[in-house]
């Protein structure tokens, strides 16, 4: 095809507006059912398999990646396959593009229709597919291919990582919780009888029997369920520290031991019910805490797995093998296809192309590369295929430099102590001292027997036992992180929200963080020209081409377009590209494309970086929250000044290297500020680590995602302000909860010291304080926004 068909191009402009693709839900050219051939094929496949109800049931999730059939090169699977003794193979994969339950059903149903598949199960919480099949290892690629054809992206998990992620602690906690819950419920049966017996005519023999029944139920359960606390307490004591688990372990053990002695002596009071329900409540807090962290960790692992890259390495015999980027030796030659990210640092040895270095340097415009140009891992190849020779994996690579800076910065941040732990460190010694003094008073001053005095001391420990304190923070955290997660904000570090609540200055990076990763077309006066240019641009991956194609709406790509690397596109007589390429004088100061066609004047298209949606509103909201806002960028001064002006940021600096940025952050910290850094590039990794707390968009480079405490999804910048608001509210709720439980203990301690606490009072006191704290935490959830 050539100029003849393209001459009809203006007719497209008159066609009606867009419609949605029947497969992926994206925009299509009007009249078309599908946005691309891949979607059409996927739709066919699903219909042929008789799974068409998928389209009726699917609920599109705007935060999830849209289905893109045949978008990504296949990764190397064989390395990750585990083979069982019976000859079946197993593979665990991260699934990207999962929208709702219908996707789970579709993936499982498609795989179940292949006779080789022995089992396929998608876990929707962790977004992982566990696939097992019979046959050869290579069959796995075909099975994964079925799903990738539908538009999902599957990335294998390393078996070594999976073994480490086996959630042993979580299961142990859950089992302990079950055992403690069972015992707490059943021990109440004799306990109630004893409490009632205190006011009626229960004989000593019956009471003794009830105590023995309680002991029979409670003792094994306590011995089983107290182990997580003992382990943690012992670990802390060995390092010469004390934590909340020390008074818990000592208290529970002492109370249980004393109760057993009392039972043997047929005494009036035994605290089995109190000890078991205490453990039960504490374990609820522990399990909640663990699940909140496990959820965040799984989400972070998913992000990392999806970014893992492998590279096409040229072997000595001229064949191409896909290798892990980390396993590439220095001096190896790597083939980089257009649209692929370069996986290694190296030098171009062959080919000529343009590179998008935004993630590495923050430069928003593509740079050209020819043989001899140094390139860095994380750079995107936009133009033609190139060959890169990997350089020594020594300390001189940019990536290694960034990692080194990041480690240094992280070491400086040191260990942030959580609020609850800080309270516990002060609280624990006070509790021990109070119990000891109580014992000494009753035994030494009042001349009471050792056993009775110990029992009163134990009741002090039980009543002061920070049951509500241990629930106070986890309950708020679970509700808070869950709320943020539903809005596409992942909290990776357990202390992140506390630190976020303390931030008083926000430092933004520009390219990719404050601005949209893609450029936007800002001027076009010629709709026909735009349509024609877009049909050429649709064939290219250059950022300006893509911006042009996006601005024009869906068009049918022109055929026979030749791309001249670093210059432009040509289709017959029609040329789209730089000023020199179309043969006119350059007239633009911003990035621009020129379109030349026979019989019409040259048209210029101007581009600019667009701010992320709601960027200006978010900046204003951050100011409203009392935070200062600054902009630090590695880009050119004009671009930074423009973005700062549009976003409403007064303080900005351009042309910063990674070292400059870290220095700027350090200077702010030195002046007593608590810095929140928001950035996405490779060069931002070190300052994300150096800041008090950090946030990255989920499109960020791997290194900055690893360094960030919080990752947000979606195009809008609004989650940044949202996260801060939620973090502050959580902090206030945590403080309220801790104040509540401390006030409560303060009230009960004198009663316990005086020796008036009986088992029923202890049990009642504990439950009410815990319920109070949990109830208060749920206020976070009720707040609808």
């Amino acid at each position: 095809m050539s100029g003849a068909a393209l001459a009809e191009a203006p007719a497209w402009a008159t066609r009606a507006a867009t419609s949605t693709c029947a497969h992926c839900g994206g925009e299509t050219a009007s009249g078309q059912r599908f946005c691309c051939a891949g979607c059409g094929a996927a739709f066919e496949t699903i219909q042929q398999l008789g799974l068409g109800t998928y389209y009726r049931d699917v609920v599109r999730d705007n935060l999830a990646r849209r289905l893109q059939p045949n978008a990504e090169p296949r990764t190397d699977l064989a390395r990750h396959v585990r083979t069982a003794e019976d000859g079946s193979h197993e593979l665990t994969l991260a699934v990207d593009g999962l929208q709702c339950g219908a996707c789970v059903w579709l993936i499982e149903s498609v795989l179940a229709r292949d006779p080789r598949v022995a089992g396929a199960r998608v876990n929707m919480t962790t977004r992982r597919l566990k696939l097992s099949w019979n046959g050869t290892v290579e069959d796995g690629a075909a099975l994964v291919g079925h799903i990738e054809q539908l538009g999902y992206r599957l990335v294998p998990f390393d078996p070594a990582c999976l073994a480490a992620a086996q959630d042993r602690t979580g299961r142990e906690l859950l089992r302990s919780l079950a055992v403690a819950g069972f015992a707490a419920a059943n021990v109440m049966l004799p306990a109630m009888a004893i409490w009632v017996g205190l006011f009626s005519d229960m004989g000593p023999a019956t009471r003794a029997l009830m105590h023995w029944v309680s002991a029979a139920i409670a003792m094994p359960a306590i011995i089983y369920a107290v182990r997580p606390f003992w382990r943690s307490a012992w670990g802390a004591l060995r390092q010469g520290r004390t934590n909340m688990d020390v008074p818990i372990s000592v208290g529970v053990t002492l109370v249980t031991g004393m109760s057993l002695v009392q039972t043997i002596n047929h005494a009036e009071h035994a605290y089995f019910d109190g000890a078991v329900s205490l453990l039960f409540f504490l374990l609820i807090g522990r399990v909640l805490d663990h699940y909140a962290r496990a959820h965040a960790r799984a989400a972070a692992e998913q992000l990392i797995a999806l970014q893992q890259t492998d590279v096409a390495m040229l072997e000595a015999d001229g064949t191409v093998a896909r290798r892990d980027a980390a396993a590439v030796p220095a001096g190896a030659r790597i083939l980089v296809a257009p649209g692929e990210r370069i996986g290694v640092d190296g030098t171009v040895v062959q080919g000529e192309t343009t590179l998008d270095t935004a993630l590495v340097t923050g430069e928003s415009l593509p740079v050209s590369a020819t043989a001899g140009t140094r390139v860095f891992a994380g750079t995107l190849n936009l133009g033609a295929p190139i060959t890169v020779r990997a350089t020594a994996a020594g300390g001189d690579t940019l990536l290694a430099e960034c990692v080194r800076l990041m480690e240094a910065a992280e070491a400086k941040r040191g260990r942030f102590v959580m609020f609850a732990d800080r309270v516990a460190r002060r609280y624990a010694p006070v509790v021990h001292l109070a119990a000891l003094l109580t014992f000494l008073f009753w035994w030494g001053v009042q001349g009471m027997g050792v056993a009775d005095a110990l029992l009163i001391a134990a009741s002090v420990l039980i009543i002061t036992c920070p049951c509500a304190l241990a629930l106070a923070v986890p309950a708020v955290q679970v509700i808070g992180t869950g709320r943020l997660f539903r809005r596409g904000v992942l909290v990776k570090s357990p202390t992140a929200l506390e630190r976020l609540a303390e931030a008083d200055i926000v430092v933004f990076d520009k390219t990719g963080t404050l601005t949209d990763p893609a450029l936007k077309l800002v001027s076009s006066h010629d709709p026909d020209g735009l349509k024609l240019a877009a049909s050429l641009a649709a064939t290219s991956r250059h950022p300006l081409s893509r911006a042009l194609a996006a601005a024009a709406g869906p068009v049918v790509p022109a055929e026979g377009v030749a791309e001249v690397v670093g210059a432009g596109l040509a289709c017959g007589d029609i040329r789209l590209g730089s000023a020199a390429f179309v043969g006119v004088e350059a007239t633009a100061t911003t990035p621009a494309l020129y379109l030349a066609r026979p019989g019409a004047p040259v048209v210029r298209f101007d581009f600019a970086e667009a701010l992320r949606p709601e960027a200006a509103e978010t900046i204003a909201a951050l100011r409203g929250l009392g935070l200062e806002v600054q902009l630090l960028s590695g880009d050119r001064e004009a671009a930074v000044a423009d973005a700062a002006a549009r976003a409403g940021i007064a303080t900005w600096r351009a042309g910063c290297s990674p070292v400059d940025k870290v220095a700027a952050i350090e200077a702010l910290r030195a002046s007593g500020k608590r810095v929140l850094m928001v950035g996405d590039g490779l060069n931002d990794g070190p300052c994300l680590a150096a800041a008090h707390v950090s946030i990255s968009p989920s499109t960020a480079a791997e290194i900055s995602q690893n360094a960030a405490d919080v990752v947000f999804q979606g195009a809008s910048l609004a989650p940044v302000a949202d996260a801060i608001r939620t973090a502050r509210r959580m902090k206030r709720l945590c403080q309220e909860n801790i104040a509540l439980s401390l006030a409560y203990n303060l009230l009960m301690v004198p009663v316990a010291v005086a020796g008036y606490v009986t088992p029923w009072l202890a049990a009642l006191a504990m439950s009410t304080s815990s319920l109070l704290v949990i109830g208060n935490s749920f206020r976070l959830r009720r707040q609808a926004r």
């Binding site: 919480t125 859950l174 055992v179 419920a185």
Partner: protein
């Protein structure tokens, strides 16, 4: 006294049954995917 002993033994036994069931379910991985379990029930499954 004797009926009381029987009843206590019975209740502990029943409670223990519940506990065993829970431990079995948890070991069986039935608590691994809470989100998925809520959604799966909505889809007709024509697999054997």
């Amino acid at each position: 006294m004797t009926p009381l002993l029987w009843l206590i033994a019975l209740s502990v036994f029943l409670g223990g049954g519940g506990l065993a069931l829970f431990l079995w379910a948890s070991r069986n991985g039935q608590y691994d995917d809470m989100d998925g379990a809520a959604q799966r029930i909505l889809f007709d499954d024509d697999r054997k």
